[in-house]
Structure formats: C-alpha cells, structure tokens
C-alpha cells in the first residue's frame, strides 16, 4: 500500500498499459503507433486543462468555471477571426491567454480579497461566463466556413511527426513540471495545500498564491479556448458544456488530492490519458459508447479509494518500534 502511495504514477501507467493490452487483444490495430499518437493528440486539450485545474486543487480550491472560460474565450477568438481574418493566429492565441487569465484572475480576486469560498465563486462565474458567450454571439454559432484556414489549420500542422496541438501539450507539460518542481511559486502551491498555517509561518502569501493558481488555470483555459474551437471548428454557447467535471475527474484519477497539497504533473497527464484511452477504446472494441460514462465514473471512484488508502494518516507514531518500521 505504501509503495502504491509512493508510485501512484507507475500504477496508473500500468493500468493504462493493461487497458491498451486488453483493447489490442480484441483489436490489434489499436496499439499501432499512429493510433496511439492520435489518442495523445485527442487528449492534449484535456491534459492542458487538467494541469491548470491541478494548481487550483492543490491550493485547496476548485475551479468550476474553466469550461465556461474556455467557451467564452473560444467564442471571442472565433468571432475575432471571423470579423478580421487577417489578424495573425499567434496574436489571437496570445489574446486568448490574456483573456483567459483575466477571467481566471477575476475568480482569484474574489477568492483572495473577499475570501468567498472558491466553489461559490466559480459556480457563479460558471454561469456568468457561459451566459456571456451567448450574449456576445447573440446565440449564433461560428462555424468552419467563417473561420480562416490558418485559424483552423495551425494546430493541425505536423512538426516532427506530431501535430502542433500535441506539441502544445508537451510544452505545457514541461513548463508545468518546471513550475511545480523548480520554482518557489510552484512549491508554494503545494505548501499552502499541505498546511496553510505553516505556509504563513514560512512567509507565503496564501491569498495571493491562490490568486496565481486561478490566473494560471484561467490562462490555460483561454489557450484551450482557441485550441478547442479550431479543433472542432465550431464555436457555440454549448462548447465544452459539462466539461468542468471531466477536467476535475482527470485530476482525481491522476492522484490529485481534493484536500489539497498532493498531485504531480505526471499523474495528471496520465489521468487525462486514461480518460482519453477509454474514450477512444470503447467504440473500437465495440463496447457500446453508452458504457463510457459508467466506466469513467467507476474509474474515478476506484482512483479516490486507492488514493485515500495511500494517503491514510498513519497517526502520530509515538512508539519507537513503530517509528523504526
């Protein structure tokens, strides 16, 4: 059990491998490198969103508004592209990051300055942001015909055998890994989750750190807003609706503790991939897609049970012999 707690990522990796083996046994084509790369590419957006959500959950908060933020930013960027096809796509992406970060920062400010519980703040902004998508677009969808081909094709451009979308996820993962392991900010996300009181004693500004988490999560949601609309070539009010819980599910399966302080970049990536593999595998092995939801629900439950076992407090350990073990 202890080993499992320590090597959660390895176990999750094994579970994914097992899944691949089972699927491949029934359907050999599934394990072909090309198909695996496709799954990775399909999961890229979820991975990036889950990385952002991880920061927030680490600080004992939760962001329910990420999907709505994504939809709003996505709609803004799609409408901008439709109105001004000449604006270069990288500029549009930068705009997405800024808008997304702004929406995240709004959550963050309410949590930091007014100390409103994150779940209430983001429950409110969830409906506000999604409502705004409708308001700015007047309900109309932006579809493929209105988007410029650069806008649609940028993330599909293949570079070193992988579409740029996959590269975005890879770069995001590396940056997050550096952030979480090599920077004081990253460590303070963990610290305030593990022990907020001790964080104050250590000189960490708990409120501002939470604000940073929300802002970065928002920036990720914003970037994914562009990636989402250009991937599915549609921007509408319903984009990614209900996806906020999928993002949280990926984190939970990846071993992020909802009580804060525990979670790794690797775990979250694997959690997202796990969901991605399930989504891709079910249609392939002819299990009716209607099983998909129940399976991912069971996976979440299994993951929390296992994680809770790994985290179980061992008490204070007063006896010397117990300490030695």
């Amino acid at each position: 059990m202890k080993a499992l707690g320590k090597h959660r990522e390895i176990w999750l990796g094994l579970a994914i491998l097992l899944l691949l083996v089972i699927v491949t046994a029934r359907f050999p084509r599934f394990a072909q490198p090309q198909n695996l790369l496709t799954i990775f590419n399909d999961t890229s957006i979820l991975m990036m969103l889950a990385l952002g959500q991880m920061l927030v959950i680490l600080t004992r908060s939760i962001d329910l508004s990420m999907a709505a933020n994504l939809a709003l930013t996505g709609m803004i960027v799609a409408m901008t592209n439709a109105a001004f096809p000449g604006v270069p796509v990288p500029l549009l992406m930068a705009m997405c990051v800024v808008i997304g970060a702004g929406l995240g920062a709004f959550n963050g400010v309410l949590v930091w300055k007014l100390s409103i519980p994150p779940i209430v703040v983001t429950l409110g902004t969830l409906t506000i942001y999604r409502g705004l998508v409708f308001v700015i677009s007047n309900g109309a969808w932006v579809n493929a015909a209105q988007m410029s081909s650069d806008f649609i094709n940028l993330q599909r451009t293949v570079f070193l055998g992988l579409p740029l979308l996959s590269w975005f996820a890879i770069v995001a993962a590396v940056l997050f890994w550096l952030l979480m392991t090599r920077t004081p900010l990253g460590r303070s996300f963990y610290a305030i989750g593990v022990n907020p009181t001790a964080s104050v004693y250590t000189g960490i500004n708990v409120g501002r750190t939470k604000f940073m988490a929300f802002t970065i999560a928002g920036a990720m949601a914003g970037l994914c807003g562009y990636l989402w609309v250009s991937r599915y070539v549609i921007a509408s009010t319903e984009v990614a609706s209900g996806y906020e819980l999928t993002i949280i599910a990926a984190c939970v399966i990846g071993g992020v503790s909802i009580a804060g302080g525990i979670g790794t970049v690797g775990g979250v990536l694997l959690g997202a991939i796990f969901l991605g593999v399930i989504n891709n595998a079910l249609p392939v092995i002819n299990i009716s897609p209607f099983w998909q939801m129940a399976i991912s629900g069971s996976a979440i439950l299994l993951a929390v049970v296992l994680n809770a076992r790994g985290e179980k407090r061992k008490g204070r350990i007063i006896l010397k012999k117990a300490e030695a073990v």
Partner: protein
C-alpha cells in the same frame, strides 16, 4: 557591554477577549542566550509570533541593529535576520525533509530555478552537524514528533540569522537530543548570534541561559542576569505569589475502583497500558509532551480503537466504539485541543452545553429551548462562567471560559468518570485556580477524575496517584505522598538515577 542586536519596546497585542501582551519590552544581545520565562498563557509565544511577522503588534516598536523595522510577513522577519523554532511544529507533512528546511529560501541555480541537488546536500550537512540521523530525502510525515522538532531546528539554522528564537525546543526531545541541542546552542553563541530561549524547565535555563526576562499575564515583570538570580526569585516573579498556596485542600473519601484499563495497546501509539481509577480519586497522568497520554485517553473515550486490552467500568467490560458510546457508559473527556475538539465555535454557549444532553432536554426528538437554557444556566453558573448571555458565541469567550463551557457540557450528562486533558493549558491564573477548585468539588461529589497534565506543580498539587508515561508506555504508577518533583521528571524523561543525582 555591547548594545543589543534586537530591542522590543512597548509591544502590545490583543485577541478578542484576551490581552496577550501589554507594553512589553525585551533586549537580545549578540553571543548571549536570553531565557524568556512565564507561566502558560503569559504571552511568550505571542511575542515570538510578533517578532517573526506572523502577528502584527497593536502598538510598539521593533529595533534590529539600531533601526526600526516593520515585519508584515514571515519573509520580512527572516530578511532582517530573525528566525524561530515555533512551539507547535509548523512544517509540511507531504514534503521532504530537505524541502521543509529550505521552503521559501531554497538555493537557486543560474536560471533562477530551485537547485534541488545543492538543497539536499546543504540539508544533509545541517542535519549531520546536528547528529540528527535524518535522511533529507524522506517525507516529513514519516518522522516522529522528536525528529520533526529537529527538522524545525535545522530549518531555523538554515536561515543565516542574527537572532534565533527557540520556543520550548526541548519539550518533545529525548535527553540525548537535548544534549545535542545544547552543543548547537553553544556553537551559535560562539558565532555571535543572539538567542531567545523559551522553556519551563529551570534546570536547562540555568545551564544554558545568560540572561532572563519574566512575563506574567502579558506584562514584563522582571529581567536580569541568570548568574545573579536565584530560582526562587524567578518563580516568585512568574507566579506573583508563593507557589504552594495554589492548590485547594481536599478531603474526598476514596472508594471502590470505578474504571479499570487492562493492557490497552495500539499498533503505533501506545502499548500495554493498565491503570485503575477509584471513586472520589484524582488520577494524574504525567509525561513530557508527546508521551502518548492524549492518545490513551482518546482510546478510553472511544475515539480510537485499541488493538487489544479491555476496559472495565463498575465491574462491566465495555468497548466503546465511539465517543457517543463512552458518554452513554458515563465516561467523558475534556480534550486538550479546546478550539478544535472541545467547543463548537460559531455556536452559542447554550447549544454547546446541551449538545450531549439533547435527549434529556427534548421531548420525543423535538427541541425545547426553555429546558436547554435552564440546563445550560445551571451548569455554567456553577462554574462561574463569565459571559454576557447564554446565546453568546463561544468563540468570543476567553480560553478559560471556553474550558468552562466544555466542562459544563460534560457535567450536565452526569458522568461517572471525567477525563481532563491538560485542563489548564493556556488558561489564566484566576481561571486555573477555579478549575482546580472545581476538580476537588467533583471528586467530593463522588466522581472519578483522570487528569492529564504536563505541569509538574499541577500534577503534584492535585493528584492522589500519578501515572507516568514515556514514549507510549506506562513507566510507573506512584502514590502522591511526599513525591519529589525530580522523581517524576526523571521517570518522564528517562534519565538514569545517577545522572539525575
């Protein structure tokens, strides 16, 4: 004599209901150890927190190296060269030892990234210097309380500070570790650091301190050089009166055995605990902090399940699976962590008091407020609770009055055995005496009292018999007749006979 490195003047700090510090001053000198002495709740830790940027003083100035400083955050305190080992371990269970030492001031490489390799190496060096025998790469949660405290010490040392504050650093350490700490303090002194040392143990104060400052009830009541002052003088300043008057005279008739524990064990916390408490008796449990007394009492109270052993109450074997079971059987527990486990803050006094007795005050499950108020009034007035009304939120009460609410809550259930865990911890002197008075009334009425306490005078002054615990085991059970404090200390700390003599 040189000028002090750090000077505090006129520092005041109030909490709702308590004036923790009132215009205190303090000087610390390079290369000297200043002992800060005072009873529980005198304001020592509060002062430490204002010196390290965790609390902001309501009034007063902090001078470091001749300049006034403000300390809005813990960072700013380490920036001006102040570091502290706090009384409670404020560390991060899920992080490695090395990171616990360096969080917030980790070494960076040339790209501004945290340099883990250097960090681990430095941590290892510091820990080895302390002969702590701790692997810097394991997670903190794998360590016991003593080792955790050593990590806290290492953290303080890792900050290159001029002023090192130690708030009861030895309370949880074994003798061997304490000796190593003394060596470290000697080294720091030679380095020219100013050290503020808080302790309740006079032997160690006399061994390592150069100066002392005494606090009483949030005020500075005396200071001087240790070598010029006798222990009795310091005690006089601390308490404000002679020590032996504090405890009430008792003449309770001790009767039959009421509660008997036989061989209680828990996989990691305690082993083979056997004791018995009789009608009308106060059974004291003494030990150093972390000896496992609270864990034992919580097992008796049904909060944790022992792996083996039996409990016999009035001749009947009981196995409480929850606190509710224990209360039903007639065993109640006044916990040590009052704010977390005792009172329900956010709720008014009368709801706190009536909570375990709701079955008595209600009628077929429906509340009857009048009965609840009556019940709450009966028991709070008996304890002389100071409050404005029964609907006052308990969080606005002072610690001592909160404690009275907890005791009132239990008395209302008419228990057979009442367990008091550190009943006077953080309680002011007046309330303390009231609690002591009340305990003697309880036994006079035929209750059995188990009192867990780390305060020697309290244990010696109140108990009929004393159980001494160390590291999760019972060391001895003694009759409190002509017991010498040294005997208890020796047993609790595990010091061999000849060493103590």
């Amino acid at each position: 004599m040189t000028d002090p490195i750090l000077t505090l003047s006129g520092i005041s700090k109030s909490f709702p209901g308590v004036r923790a510090l009132n215009g205190v001053s303090l000087e610390l000198y390079a290369g000297e150890v200043t002992a800060l002495i005072g009873e529980n709740g005198a304001g020592k830790s509060t002062l430490v927190k204002t010196m390290t940027g965790i609390y902001q003083p309501d009034a007063g100035e902090i001078w470091v190296a001749g300049k006034v400083v403000t300390l809005p955050t813990a960072h700013s305190a380490s920036a001006v060269g102040i570091t502290a080992i706090h009384q409670e371990t404020v560390l991060f269970d899920e992080m490695t030892v090395a990171e616990n030492i360096y969080l917030g001031h980790a070494p960076r490489n040339r790209w501004g990234m945290i340099d883990w390799r250097t960090m681990r190496a430095e941590a290892k060096k510091t820990l080895d210097a302390m002969a702590a025998g701790i692997d810097p790469d394991i997670k903190l949660k794998e360590l016991g309380i003593a080792k955790k405290h050593l990590v806290a010490v290492a953290r303080a040392l890792s900050i290159d500070a001029q002023v090192v504050i130690m708030d009861e650093p030895t309370a949880a350490l074994s003798q061997k570790e304490i000796e190593e700490l003394y060596v470290l303090i000697e080294l720091l002194k030679q380095d020219g650091k100013a050290i503020l040392f808080i302790s309740h143990k006079f032997d160690e104060i006399y061994r390592i301190a150069d100066r002392f400052t005494v606090f009483r009830d949030g005020e500075q009541v005396g200071k001087g050089l240790i070598r010029d002052t006798a222990q009795s003088q310091i005690v006089q300043m601390m308490v404000g009166r002679a020590v032996d008057q504090i405890f009430p005279e008792r003449t309770a008739a001790i009767g039959e055995t009421v509660l008997k524990a036989k061989g209680l064990s828990h996989p990691t916390e305690f082993e083979d605990i056997s004791f018995a408490v009789r009608k009308g008796e106060i059974l004291g449990f003494y030990g150093l902090v972390g000896a496992g007394r609270s864990e034992v009492m919580q097992a008796v109270f049904g909060m944790t399940q022992p792996s083996s052993g039996t409990l016999v109450l009035n001749g009947q074997t009981i196995a409480p699976k929850s606190a509710a079971d224990a209360v039903e059987a007639g065993i109640v527990y006044v916990p040590e962590e009052r704010g977390k486990q005792g009172v329900i803050t956010g709720e008014p006094i009368f709801k706190n008091v009536s909570l375990p007795s709701l079955r008595k005050t209600s009628k077929s499950g429906f509340l009857r407020l009048a009965e609840e108020y009556a019940l709450a009034r009966t028991y709070t007035e008996r304890l002389d609770l100071r409050a404005s009304s029964l609907s006052q939120d308990v969080s606005t009460l002072s610690g001592g009055n909160q404690q009275k609410v907890v005791i009132a809550k239990w008395l209302a259930t008419l228990p057979k055995v009442i367990i008091l865990d550190e009943p006077t911890k953080g309680i002011d002197i007046g309330s303390k005496a009231a609690v002591h008075q009340f305990m003697s009334e309880l036994v006079a009425e035929g209750l059995s009292v188990i009192m867990v306490s780390s305060e020697l005078p309290e244990v010696l002054g109140m108990s009929d018999r004393i159980v001494v615990m160390r590291e999760g085991r019972i060391i001895d059970t003694l009759d409190n007749k002509g017991l010498q404090p040294e005997t208890l200390v020796r047993l609790a700390a595990g010091i061999a006979e000849e060493q103590a003599a």
